[in-house]
Every structure is written in structure tokens, then in C-alpha cells.
Amino acid sequence: MDLEYTPEEQQFRDELRTVFYEKVPAEIRERVVRGQISREDIVTSQRILHEHGLAVPHWPTQWGGKKWSATQQNIYVSELQRAAVPTPLAFNVSMVGPIIAEFGSQEQKEKFLPATANLDIWWSQGFSEPEAGSDLAGLKTTAIRDGDEYVINGQKTWTTLGQYGDWMFLLARTNPGAERKQQGISFILVDMQTPGIERRPIKLIDGSVEVNEFFFDNVRVPVSNLVGEENKGWTYAKFLLGNERNGIAQVGTSQRVFAELVDAAKETDVEEGTLAEDPDFRAQLHTAKMRLLALEATQLRVAGASADGKPDPASSLLKLEGTRLLQSLTALRLDAGGTDSVLVGDTEGTDGTPVGLSSEHAASTAALQYLNMRKLSIFGGSNEIQRGVIAKAVLGL
């Protein structure tokens, strides 16, 4: 057993830190902390990372990837989260990019991968539908072949940041008559400028517009936009599940939030002394601290194990506890701020996001972030789904 990075790993980490802290503007990282990040922030940040070869490290080397070890990948994600650098757009770098690199045609690779890595194209994900959330394979959108085109009809929802989407990768039924619901599904790329697409923004609990609904009415896309083979889309979608082990627990993010919480507690006067001296608050901090340590250690333990395209029980464990923990931390921040936590100013931020009325650092928009973070245990495979994966894949139940 060993608790230290090798000198090489330490150097690797230091180099990353230089980029994260010195190249990515401090204002952007500050907005991440306040939960007020804009489209421009994400684009700017990803381009800076890409410039330094750090946007798509897990891609094949010919498309900008690095051959990092599991430990290096883990250091990368943790440091990124701790530095409050916006994570490179997951739809681009973790989803459609790897799929195109693995299953796409050479033409698709050349057309899309460089632009995807540099966020010249902003991708949206078109998987969920109103009647197909947790039951993804129950999707109903059709893409019927008509000559050299697919004609797409249907509805996609929960499209995160879809308002910025230049292109969408979606799952649609190319063979609606297939026997099993997982069959007859294809993975298709759609230019969002194509006629027949209508967007309905969905306002969330905290007032933000982060997700959207899209309606497809006879939307015609060339068959060259099909990725891989027709009717094999479900296989490609599953390839994504459990593909992400390092980021999913959000250890770096939770470490950052914990540190902010401690700093704020030290500055918050309560009746006798500061909040950091309050025994009740200390007890809650310690519980959170040890859960975070358990999570980080678990991530380090399983980082080496490989995913094989099936839903990964290690990912499920990390997501289950990782989301619960980050949610608890936002709840703790809420309590720390008291009445100040729930204040929201009327001045809208650059991205339509409201900014805090409270002058207090820790309290500012704490309630909004707390409410927004409820999504963690729902989106991207709810915690109920994760429990099911653990029960089936690990426990054989």
C-alpha cells in the first residue's frame, strides 16, 4: 500500500495545476464556484484546455488524446474539479466524441472530431423522451429511411444546455417493428439548423433554463449522418454507460466545496465564536469529511479496474455516494448561511442566472445551488437505477 504519488505523478499534477490555475481565467473559476457559469465560460475554458492538450485526453492519440494511466486520468479529473475549472462539455468529449472515434466513418471523424474537441461544435444529447427516462430503451422517436435521408419524428427531452446546441446526437427507431425494444435503434447526428426542429425551454426549480425539450416534425437528415451500423444504436449507447469512472463521483468538486465551507464557517460569527467552533456544525463537517475520504479512497481503489462496455457497478457505487455526498454538502452550506442562504438578487447574471442578494460569500445563492443539485441523483441515471445496477451486476439479485 502506498499513499503518495510517484515523483512523475507529482510533476504531472503540478503541470496540470499550472494550466488550470494560471491559464484558465480566475473569473471563470469563480463563477463555477457560484454556480453562475455561462456558455462563453465553457467555450473559453475548453479551448484553453485544448490548446494545452487537456480537453480530450482519453480520446485516441491521433485525435488529441494522451495515453494516460488510470491514476493520471484520476489526477486530471480531480484537479480539474478542485480548481473549479469548467469540465469540458461532456456531450462532446465524453459522449459523441468517443462514439465517433470508435464507430464513426473516417469522413465523420475528420469532419467532427477536431471541431468537437475545440468546442467549435456544441453537441446536445438526444436520448431521453417523455415516456423514456429511466427506461431509455422505451424511446419512440422514429427515423424512417426515405431515399438518402432519414425522416425523423418524435420528441426528446431533458436536453441539458440544448439551447446552445449546434448539433445533436440522438437515438431513434430505424426499425420500429423490431422484436425487442433494444433492437432497431440507430445513432444519428442532426444539424440543429435543419427545418422542422422546435425547442421548448424547460425552466427548473431554481429558475434556471438548463434543460430543454425538442420536437422533431419530419426532420430530414442525410443517411451519411448515421454513426456505425443501422439498428446498432443501442450497443453504442451502452458503450457510454459506465465509461466514466473518474469524474462521476465528483470527488474534486466535493473537496472544493468542503474547503469553501470550512473557510466560510471560520468567517461566520455566531453567538459565541465562529460557526467553525460550533460543536453541532463540527460534527456535521466531520461526517461529511469522512464520507468524502471514503469516496476518494474508493475511487482510487477501483480506478485501475477496466470497464467493458457494460453498466459498471463501480461507476454506480461512485455515482450513488458521490451525488448523495455533494448534495449533503450543498445542504450543509445552506444551513451555514441561514436566512441569507435563500436570498436571490434581481440582477440577472450574464447567462440569465440570478445572482445573490446576500453579500455573504458562502450564503450567496446557496439555496439555488442546493435546489439545482437535486438533479445529481436524478439525471444521468437516477440513484434508483444505480441501485438496480449494483443489485444485478454485483449482487446477482
Binding site: S134, V211, E271, D280, G338, T339, D346, S358, A367, I378
Partner: protein, 382 residues
């Protein structure tokens, strides 16, 4: 020994629920919150006509002089609909402070009773805990109770619509509550909202003319704290109303929403959690009713442990509110996160209630320093 509302109180709650349930949808609530005043004026008038605004005011000022049970009934029904009409912060709490002072202008009380106007209580200050002495100062100008105020208050609910502000400040003789006209000179307002879309403002005073209400000093602080304790108990009735309706909406959703081709109610893991939710709500209801009954009893017997009762109940129900708010969203899945469904409004309002009047962490601190943890729990007094 009776911990239930009487028939009149039940009927009163139902009449409010009837008036609200016909109109209140997530869309209606969103529009009302975004309107000029921050709530629905017509609905406020309707409820005032039923008696909601007159409840806590004495008969001399056209009020109904009702007790804690009626306040519970009103706020419970408002909570059931996640209504944002400002009865607690705009009418009841101001009326308690005014009545306690013994020196409230008649026209203020009668205006509140009729629902013609509301008042706002300005106590929170930026970055200061609720229990601290106000940093806002009251400086005498030699004319008895007439002073000028300087300082900044925050989280002042509905300050933009309030005809009067009740402002806490530190004067020569210590703590006092001061009456200020909403349009008095030297007031600078920055308007915002809370996470549940209630309108609140930061209000800065600079040489603003004000009148002391009642006495000042430690006794005035105790009186203020007792009125706030009543508000803490009252807001718990709203919380129970919110929890009750939110969990019912969630059960209905489990019955109707399908995943994997079958209703969610087919999934036993969700069904058992719904049962736990029911238990959570019923137990919280009992605590809110106990606190309300304690308040009624204290009003008759001159006991002064209303602050302790309020803190005990607040700590318990704030915890339940968090559990319920989180579970109803989680059990709804993505839908529960959206502004267009009622469930998100219930969750947001429950979250705000946890942090109301200084918040749950401060209440826990007070409780843990008091004798309460070592005192045997018992509902029955004798």
C-alpha cells in the same frame, strides 16, 4: 386532551383551501410571483374577505381576535397550495409586534385587518445572525419616541409593497422595534426574491424618521423574540400543509406515471419510501399541532416557554421538511426538477421555511445550549 382542530377551524382551513385550490397551479404561482406586487391581489382580497387578514387582530380594530388554532388552519391551507399571498409576514407577525407594543396606531391595525395594506418586518442584517443585536441604530431627536434610523436590513419580505416597515434597531436604551412609513425619506431598496420566489428586499436606512413601538431594552427584545416564536410556530403549519399536499401529489404521480411499461407504483422500493414519507408527514403534523396547542395554552396561563417550544418544534419539522422536499423531487424524477410542476414549488418553499427567522442551524444552537435536550418529552402538561 385534544390535539386536533375543532370543526370551525377545519371549516376555515377548507374554505381557504377551496379558494386557492381552484386557482393555484404551478403556472398561476409563477405568474403571481412575477407580477408587480409579487402575489395575486384578487386572491389576497378573497382570502381577506373570508377572514384571513383579520385573524390575529383584536375586535377593536375590526379583527377576529382568533387564536393559534385559526392561524394554524389558515397557514396550513396556504401551505397546501404553496400560496405566496403574504399573510404571515405581511399581516400576522406585524400584528403581533404591534399588539405587544401597546402603542400601535389604530389605522395600522385596522388596515391590516381589512387586508387593505400589509406591513413588513425588517430584522435580518447582512452577515449577522438573527440573535445578534441590530447594528442598525436609532438616534433620538429630542422628541420622545421620534428617532431616525441608519443601517441596512436584508431579507425583508415584501418590503416593496409594505405600507409600513417594522424595523429593529439599537437605540440609547437598547433594542427597540420602530415603525417606519414605507415611503419615508432615506430608504434605499434593492429588490430581490428568495429561492421560493417570495419577494424580499435589502433595505438601507439613512436618517429615516421612525417611531418607537412600546418600550426599548431587554424586555423589548424578549417581546420581539416571543412574537417571532409565534411566527416560527405558524410557519410550521404552512410547512405541514406543504408536506401533506406534496406527498399526496407524489403518491398520485406514482400511480399514474409509467416507466418500463408499468406504473411506478409497481416498484416496491418507491412504494416503501412513500410509506416512510407518510410517516414523516404525520409525525411532523403532530409536532406542529403540539406547538400550536402549547401556544394556546400559554396564552391562557401566562407561561413564557413559547420560545423553547418554537425552537424544539422548528428543529424537528425543518428536518422533516428537508427529507420530504428531497424525497418528493427524487420520486418524481426529472419532472420534479421543473418549474412547471407544483412539486418544485413545494420543495423550494419548504427549503426556504427551513431557513426562515434565522434558520434551522441557529435554532439548533439555541436548543443545544438550553435545557431542552435533558428535559423529558411529554405532550400532556399537568
Amino acid at each position: 386532551m385534544d390535539l386536533t382542530l375543532n370543526e370551525d377551524q377545519e371549516a376555515f382551513a377548507e374554505s381557504i383551501d377551496d379558494a386557492l385550490a381552484r386557482k393555484y397551479t404551478a403556472e398561476f404561482r409563477g405568474k403571481a410571483a412575477a407580477s408587480d406586487v409579487g402575489w395575486d391581489e384578487k386572491l389576497f382580497s378573497t382570502l381577506a374577505e373570508i377572514g384571513a387578514s383579520a385573524l390575529t387582530i383584536d375586535e377593536e380594530h375590526d379583527g377576529l381576535d382568533a387564536g393559534a388554532g385559526e392561524v394554524y388552519a389558515a397557514l396550513y391551507a396556504l401551505g397546501q397550495n404553496a400560496a405566496i399571498e403574504p399573510f404571515l409576514d405581511g399581516v400576522y407577525l406585524p400584528s403581533w409586534l404591534l399588539a405587544a407594543s401597546g402603542s400601535a396606531p389604530d389605522e395600522v391595525l385596522t388596515a391590516l385587518a381589512s387586508g387593505e395594506a400589509i406591513a413588513a418586518v425588517a430584522h435580518s442584517e447582512p452577515g449577522r445572525v438573527w440573535d445578534a443585536a441590530p447594528s442598525t441604530t436609532a438616534t433620538g431627536d429630542g422628541d420622545g419616541d421620534k428617532v431616525t434610523l441608519s443601517g441596512t436590513k436584508t431579507a425583508v419580505a415584501h418590503a416593496d409593497q409594505a405600507k409600513w416597515l417594522l424595523v429593529t434597531a439599537s437605540g440609547d436604551a437598547g433594542f427597540g422595534v420602530y415603525l417606519v412609513n414605507g415611503d419615508a425619506e432615506g430608504i434605499t431598496r434593492t429588490d430581490g426574491r428568495t429561492a421560493d420566489w417570495t419577494r424580499v428586499s435589502r433595505v438601507a436606512f439613512e436618517g429615516t424618521p421612525a417611531t418607537l413601538l412600546g418600550s426599548s431594552g431587554d424586555e423589548a427584545r424578549r417581546t420581539f423574540d416571543a412574537a417571532v416564536a409565534r411566527a416560527r410556530i405558524a410557519v410550521l403549519a404552512e410547512a405541514v400543509g406543504l408536506m401533506d399536499r406534496a406527498s399526496k401529489v407524489t403518491v398520485d404521480y406514482l400511480k399514474s406515471r409509467k416507466q418500463f411499461g408499468v406504473p411506478l407504483s409497481t416498484f416496491q422500493a418507491l412504494v416503501h419510501r412513500a410509506a416512510d414519507l407518510y410517516a414523516e408527514v404525520e409525525l411532523a403534523r403532530s409536532v406542529a399541532l403540539w406547538a400550536t396547542a402549547s401556544l394556546e395554552r400559554d396564552a391562557q396561563t401566562d407561561d413564557t416557554d413559547v420560545d423553547a417550544t418554537a425552537d424544539d418544534a422548528f428543529v424537528y419539522i425543518a428536518h422533516a421538511a428537508r427529507v420530504v422536499a428531497e424525497e418528493v423531487v427524487q420520486l418524481h424524477g426529472g419532472i420534479g426538477m421543473t418549474f412547471e410542476t407544483p412539486i418544485s414549488h413545494y420543495a423550494a418553499r419548504l427549503t426556504s421555511i427551513e431557513q426562515s427567522y434565522g434558520g434551522v442551524a441557529a435554532a439548533r444552537r439555541r436548543v443545544l445550549k438550553s435545557d431542552s435536550p435533558l428535559t423529558a418529552p411529554t405532550v400532556v402538561r399537568s
